[in-house]
């Protein structure tokens, strides 16, 4: 450096020219800077969209999010009724809660100012306390950016061409890796349990699967479902309807995961070893069960665990009832049922086959022999079409048809089959008919989307070449001279919304009658129960509603010491899992009853 560094003294003075320049200051609060479009400020929650799954609360490592009851919001299946409340004394504005919100209701806004002298002022229920936040949303997670995995691991299945060749199982089940990935999608919220009639511990066993503890998963599953392998294959899986992921994507494949877990136990012995249930000392109380369907088996199993002496009376030669005789083997192989029944037998459940109550043994005898009776007789009779010519040869009730096929018989259906109906049974009928080599046309009164059948089933049927004619009402069966079915006449319908609101009603369009030629007709429009086995005095003391027995919450009938469940009672829906629930809760009720008697 020279002796005097003039440059070094003068150049910095150039900074003084800034005095003349406009200041850079934003005069907050008079002036404000625009907040960017992605700003992570306070939360906003769309309370209607929110399902209260609490995933935000789980991911929050600061434990800033509480799930609390909020006025005016009632829980319902698929919505816990709780809403997140955020403690801004904890929040770090990381927005992980936004990124994991399965419904996409939670987002963050451009608001970030909250100043108070009261430290207790920083709890906020987003959406309720800042209703205006909706217009200021800046940070949200679309299905692309969300951390939830909205796409399910696809299930491997047989190609349609191969399927129709045989009764081989269509779905091949998850491999271990697939199951772990699929199980890891679950956010463990537990909303699904509410929609399950028996309230299985779904999040727990899925979590066990995702952690690799398959045996624990099996134990958890058997806690309140004794026929899980059946459920894993053919359950109506209403749990998946309310899955948190289903709001914006595909539900977790709860059914397939259950199937995966239960298939790890290859035989009854393994089930016994893994489940290793606690069996109470025999208490000498005898319970008779009519019908070895899901309801009866379940009641029997759980009562047996509680130390009761169980005898099941079954009319047919195989256990399982409707799941044995009503569900085609390509969906539920014989072994699956047998395995579980064997396991139950090992617990001590006794089953008398080929013992039809009312014929081989009277109801009174059973009632007198046992301290209590559970009745799960199911719906054995199909409804008839109720149209002209339905008495023709070749007109089948779906139950009879499926039963026959499941017994191993191959009835001659001819080349062309018409199936009437839109439920699961109709789908089974169609697909079984395809497997028997027939061309199948299915008629349904409403649209395909309105069909009560499982989407998977409809899809499978369409893939296999079943032709579905929607909005078609059968009017007449056309017979040939020998009294055999020759064809069917139907009329097209249009859907008219009823005045009071609700589901649109099909109304026939005049003059649209069409005739299709066919060799057989399968009526799959519902079943009804046959209570002929019950003596008159018992029947008189029971209440019936639409041809079904009315029971209370604990599945008690009006007749003392008689419980009932399954499809034949008017409680919940008509499916296997509801029957299991009936059996399960009836068992609890019976146990509670005898505990009370004892005490």
């Amino acid at each position: 450096m020279s002796i005097i560094d003039l440059k070094g003294l003068l150049v910095p003075l150039g900074a003084l020219k800034q005095i003349a320049k406009e200041p850079h200051t934003i005069k907050y609060p008079d002036q404000t800077k625009e907040i960017s479009e992605r700003y992570r400020g306070f939360h906003y929650n769309d309370l209607d969209l929110c399902i209260g799954c609490g995933n935000c609360s789980t991911i929050c490592m600061n434990e800033a999010i509480d799930m609390v009851e909020v006025e005016d919001i009632e829980g319902k299946p698929g919505d816990s009724g709780l809403r997140p409340r955020i403690d801004y004394g904890r929040c770090c504005y990381c927005a992980l809660c936004v990124d994991v919100c399965p419904s996409g209701s939670l987002s963050m806004t451009a608001d970030f100012i909250k100043v108070s002298e009261d430290a207790f002022d920083f709890l906020m229920i987003p959406g309720k306390d800042n209703p205006g936040g909706k217009d200021k949303i800046t940070f949200d997670a679309s299905t692309d950016t969300s951390l939830n995995l909205f796409e399910r691991v696809p299930m491997r299945e047989l190609p349609p061409e191969e399927r129709v060749q045989s009764f081989a199982e269509v779905f091949l089940g998850y491999t271990e890796e697939e199951a772990r990935i699929e199980a890891s999608r679950c956010i463990t919220c537990g909303l699904c349990t509410e929609n399950c009639p028996v309230h299985m511990h779904i999040p727990e066993y899925i979590n066990a699967i995702s952690r690799g503890d398959d045996e624990e998963a099996i134990r958890i599953i058997y806690d309140n479902n004794d026929l899980p392998e059946m459920c894993g294959k053919v359950c109506t899986r209403r749990c998946e309807d309310v899955c948190a992921l289903q709001v914006r994507g595909e539900a977790v494949a709860i059914r397939w995961l259950k199937r995966y877990a239960t298939e790890r136990a290859e035989n009854a012995d393994m089930i016994r070893r893994i489940v290793n249930p606690e069996i109470r000392e025999p208490n000498g109380i005898k319970v008779g069960i009519i019908g070895a369907g899901p309801a009866g088996l379940t009641a029997g199993y759980y009562l047996a665990l509680k130390g009761y002496d169980i005898t099941i009376y079954e009319a047919k030669s195989e256990p399982g009832g409707m799941i044995m005789y009503g569900i085609p083997k390509y969906r539920l192989p014989y072994d699956s049922i047998q395995k579980q029944v064997d396991y139950m037998k090992s617990i001590g459940v006794k089953i008398h086959f080929n013992t039809k109550v009312g014929k081989d043994i009277s109801f009174d005898e059973i009632y007198n022999k046992h301290d209590a009776v559970f009745m799960g007789v199911g719906l054995q009779k199909g409804y008839t079409l109720g149209i002209e010519g339905e008495d023709a040869e070749g007109v089948w009730a779906a139950v009879d048809f499926l039963g026959l096929v499941n017994e191993g018989k191959r009835p001659d259906m001819g080349k062309r089959v018409v199936v009437v109906g839109g439920g699961d049974v109709s789908m089974d009928s169609s697909r079984v008919s395809r497997r028997l080599g027939a061309e199948v046309v299915q008629l349904y009164r409403r649209r395909i989307v309105d069909m009560p059948a499982d989407d998977e089933e409809i899809e499978g049927a369409l893939e296999e070449g079943v032709q579905i004619i929607e909005k078609a009402i059968p009017t007449r069966v056309i017979k040939d001279e020998k009294g055999r079915v020759k064809g069917m006449e139907y009329v097209r319908a249009e859907l008219v919304p009823p005045e009071g609101g609700g589901r649109p009603r099909p109304v026939p369009i005049k003059g649209s009658e069409t005739v299709i030629e066919c060799d057989s007709i399968i009526a799959a429009i519902g079943q009804k129960a046959d209570f002929g086995l019950l003596p008159e005095k018992v029947q008189n003391s029971l209440t019936f509603e639409r041809g079904k027995i009315k029971v209370d919450d604990e599945r008690r009938t009006g007749y003392p010491k008689l419980w009932a469940g399954g499809d034949a009672v008017k409680y919940g829906r008509v499916d296997a899992i509801s029957a299991i629930a009936d059996g399960f809760y009836a068992a609890e009720s019976i146990d509670a009853y005898f505990m009370q008697v004892k005490a």
Binding site: T25, K33, M61, D87, R90, C92, V115, A119
Partner: protein, 215 residues
């Protein structure tokens, strides 16, 4: 089903119980005894409060992450000095103690000392989640969770970190409180010193300062 409701009532605190717990949590004497609103307070007091609110000397003490937004607040973009807010180097000269975020127990000890060195009326502004309820570090063994258990606080600002705008808003709130005569808790602190000391000593195990430090 009906019995579950009963269990809830027995095991869960009611709204009133929660509210009571909040009231009992820390002394609140901000409003007690010395509310002098515009009508009743003397002219002098009014003018003094006006000067106080427009002249806030911040103690330059970066106790936590929040310190990072203080430069931004004080520099050209947001320029807090136009509101009379400026830094002060020592506690003796400062009016406002900013607790900018979490406080480790080791810092808490110094903060208490600094707070006690400050001269009345003195104000405490708490920044960010950590001062309110522990924030991110709610399960850390070394940070305190609720600041008002240890020193009285005038204003809390939400955020992690609070943006400069929020900081300015916090000061605006403080100014409002000062004008109303509701800010400044030094008296409250002295009155409840035993309670505060007990809390402080619960977390600060080693209460002594290094010998040379005691000037």
């Amino acid at each position: 089903m009906s019995e579950t409701k009963d269990i809830r009532i027995i095991t869960r605190p009611t709204k009133e119980q929660i509210r009571q717990a909040q009231i009992d949590f820390a002394p609140r004497c901000t409003a007690a005894g010395r509310v002098n609103d515009k009508e009743t307070q003397k002219m002098v007091q009014y003018i003094l409060n006006f000067a106080r609110k427009h002249s806030l000397f911040l103690l330059a003490y970066g106790t936590g992450c929040g310190a990072i937004e203080i430069p931004a607040t004080l520099t050209s973009r947001y320029d807090a000095e136009r509101l009379g807010i400026r830094g002060a180097a020592t506690p003796r000269q400062a009016d406002v103690l900013m607790i900018t975020g979490y406080l480790s127990t080791k810092t808490l000890k110094r903060v208490i000392r600094v707070y006690e060195q400050m001269q009345d009326p003195k104000y405490v502004v708490a920044f960010g989640s950590c001062t309110i309820n522990g924030g991110m570090y709610f399960d850390s063994y070394n940070t305190i969770k609720a600041l008002d258990r240890y020193i009285p606080v005038d204003v809390y600002i939400a955020g992690c970190m609070p943006r400069p705008e929020a900081v300015l808003k916090g000061f605006a709130k403080l100014q409002e409180l000062i004008q109303n005569g509701n800010a400044g808790n030094g008296e409250c602190y002295r009155k409840n010193l035993d309670w505060y000391r007990a809390n402080q000593q619960k977390v600060i195990k080693n209460w002594d300062f290094p010998d040379e430090y005691n000037w």
